[in-house]
């Protein structure tokens, strides 16, 4: 018998992730990070790693610990391992942040903390990969979301390996002089992390969550398989050829890198087309707020890829790279993250609070744990702010960028409060007494013939 329990530590992952997100935004508002400063500045390195490790990694790992068992219908390797992973990633991250101050010369004695903290983060990530790998490896048949998450985890390994190399070279440049040129591969590190790992994983999870809550066909057919294969091939080519070109910048390798970039663009286009199909083919007429807001995140992904394509065509990719990173981190991944949290948090809270009472008396519905009217202004402020900030970043207007980021930071805190209220069922007490769901009227198109109690023999 399959027994899947709730991922015990996922709420704590989400809480810490949001704290890190707010912390990173405070640095952005203070003007000590990109795009106001260079990508290599200490403030930028601190903010970027707070965002990608502190916010996105913890968010995605917390979500995967909950949803890989749903995707595979198999339990995790261990619930306790998730907590060890959380402590290692957050603790190691704090070490890394101190280490960045060290390598930037602000506090040189702390430089050793960069590789040390990176090593602790790596330990945490290794535990996570094992914990998720147990159900993913055993799952039969392997579903598209499961395969995409597996590919994403492979890119996570590549990202971490590159990051560790960078950290070692930065902390002790004299120790490995032959490796020093690898620092030119920061773009590939970012591509493996933001693209191969986060984007492919987010695509895979969205292939499960979007159809589930919009009642659309879950089998994505050939198009879904192409998204996966073309995307994985594209990111692999781009990262490997990009790194190879550092040492061997010959035409064929540069061409391979371009082919990889093209494949990435194609995969994103196919994915966005398929997401459009999911929305169009949904059986549920009304779109819930979290999936409505997610449309904005998909638009940011499309805009980012279009911007990259245009910049590449006019040979200005390096100039727009900081804006691209911003669009992907805040618009696409962050936007999708805050939108899906708005469903995941009340769903988990509802299961924890009311699962044992189901069928034994009236309980609130999942949607009674949130109040769309309170969350919607925050979502709008976030997306409008990110849009304006992206424009300011492309136009190299640091002050305008920080002004545009102010509503984003306020909205993030506002949404965090809404998640907190959902988790504590603050609104449930004030909701109209919901009837038992079985009497709530059929959402189904199927007739009551198949819902009614059958004729007792």
């Amino acid at each position: 018998m399959i027994t899947n329990r709730l991922s015990r530590w996922t709420p704590l992952f989400f809480l810490l992730a949001l704290v890190n997100f707010v912390g990173a935004q405070a640095l952005v508002l203070a003007g000590v990070t990109w795009p106001a400063t260079s990508l290599g500045a200490a403030g930028t390195l601190i903010a970027i790693h707070l965002l990608v490790i502190g916010w996105l990694l913890l968010l995605v790992l917390g979500a995967l610990f909950q949803f890989v068992p749903v995707i595979t219908t198999l339990p995790l390797g261990s619930q306790a391992a998730a907590l060890v992973c959380l402590v290692a990633v957050e603790g190691g991250l704090l070490g890394m942040l101190a280490g960045f101050l060290g390598v930037a010369g602000v506090a040189p004695r702390l430089a050793w903390l960069l590789p040390a903290g990176g090593g602790v983060v790596t330990t945490g990530i290794s535990i996570a990969i094992w914990n998720l790998g147990v159900p993913l490896a055993r799952a039969r048949p392997r579903s598209l979301p499961g395969r995409m998450v597996t590919t994403g985890l492979a890119f996570l390994v590549a990202t971490v390996t590159l990051g560790l190399l960078f950290g070692s070279v930065l902390a002790a440049p004299a120790a490995m002089p032959g490796l020093a040129p690898i620092l030119g591969g920061v773009g590939e590190h970012a591509l493996a992390g933001l693209g191969g790992w986060f984007t492919l994983t987010a695509m895979g999870v969205s292939y499960k969550l979007l159809p589930m809550f919009m009642l659309a066909p879950e089998d994505r057919g050939a198009l879904g398989r192409w998204v996966h294969v073309v995307g994985a091939t594209g990111f692999t080519l781009a990262v490997l050829a990009g790194l190879a070109a550092i040492w061997l910048p010959i035409a064929v390798i540069v061409d391979l890198r371009r082919a990889g970039d093209l494949a990435i663009g194609l995969a994103v286009a196919l994915y966005l087309w398929d997401v459009r199909r999911i929305y169009r083919d949904r059986k549920r007429v009304s779109i819930e707020l979290h999936n409505g807001v997610a449309i904005g995140a998909f638009a940011f992904l499309g805009v980012a890829v279009a911007l990259a394509a245009i910049a590449a065509a006019v040979h200005r990719l390096d100039a727009v790279a900081p804006s691209l990173v911003f669009l992907i981190v805040f618009g696409w991944l962050g936007g999708l993250g805050i939108a899906q949290l708005y469903k995941i948090v009340p769903f988990l809270a509802w299961l924890v609070r009311y699962g044992g009472r189901l069928g034994r008396g009236p309980v609130p519905r999942v949607q009674d744990l949130v109040r769309d009217g309170a969350a919607l202004p925050w979502f709008i402020a976030y997306q409008v702010g990110v849009s304006c900030a992206a424009i300011a970043a492309v136009m190299h207007r640091p002050v305008a960028f920080r002004i545009a980021m102010t509503p984003v930071a306020i909205a993030t805190i506002g949404l965090a409060v809404e998640y907190w209220r959902a988790w504590h069922a603050t609104y449930a007490g004030t909701a109209p007494n919901a009837p038992p769901a079985a009497a709530a009227g059929p959402v189904t198109k199927h007739p009551s013939l198949l819902i009614n109690r059958g004729d007792r023999p």
């Binding site: 018998m1 399959i2 027994t3 899947n4 329990r5 709730l6 068992p69 749903v70 219908t73 589930m212 809550f213 009642l215 879950e218 059986k283 549920r284 769903f347 509802w350 299961l351 699962g355 044992g356 189901l358 069928g359 034994r360 999942v366 038992p436 769901a437 079985a438 959402v443 189904t444 198109k445 199927h446 007739p447 009551s448 013939l449 198949l450 819902i451 009614n452 109690r453 059958g454 004729d455 007792r456 023999p457």
Partner: protein, 169 residues
């Protein structure tokens, strides 16, 4: 003898309730005459209903939302156990009584299927069996059912998961 054909597709798309028409048609069948239903989905629980009247069945999926179900008389009435798919191995649920409650949870948003099943489960008599068809494996439901002393049998069917849930005595 030619089977009687009942095209329910229009009626189903309009949200109609076809059970009375089906039962009326069954009553009108000549001995040895079969019934051919054209529907928009596979009506799994109907198999058990008509199975108890001695009908065997064969389901053909012509396309998305286009099913043909052929019911043939002469199959041994099987009230003692639920209709298992042809060729299925003996299940642990073989000795169970026929389901007394049917829930079709396809087309429902999570967690609605779980809410429905637990609501129906709490109204079951001890030892009685509930049959449900879900689009997805309801992974959050299992621990809840086990905590309530239920025995569960699941099997994959063409467009989802079929669950047999027996309330502990």
């Amino acid at each position: 003898m030619e089977p009687l054909t009942l095209d329910l597709r229009e009626d189903l798309r309009r949200g109609g309730e076809p059970l009375p028409r089906i039962l009326q048609a069954v009553d009108q069948l000549a001995p040895e005459q079969g019934l051919r239903l054209l529907t928009t989905f596979e009506p799994l629980p109907l198999y058990a209903v008509l199975g108890r009247k001695g009908f065997g069945h064969e389901a053909i999926r012509h396309g998305e939302g286009d099913w043909e179900i052929r019911f043939r008389p002469g199959a041994a009435p099987a009230p003692a156990k639920p209709a298992a798919p042809r060729g299925a191995p003996a299940a642990p649920s073989d000795g169970w009584p026929a389901p007394s409650v049917f829930l079709d949870n396809r087309g429902l948003q999570p967690p609605e299927p779980m809410v429905r099943i637990l609501d129906a489960f709490e109204h079951l008599d001890a030892g009685a069996v509930l049959e449900a068809v879900n689009e997805r494996d309801p992974v959050f439901l299992y621990p809840e059912l086990q905590a309530r002393g239920a025995a569960i049998h699941t099997e994959k069917v063409q467009d989802g998961v079929r669950l047999l849930i027996r309330r502990g005595g």
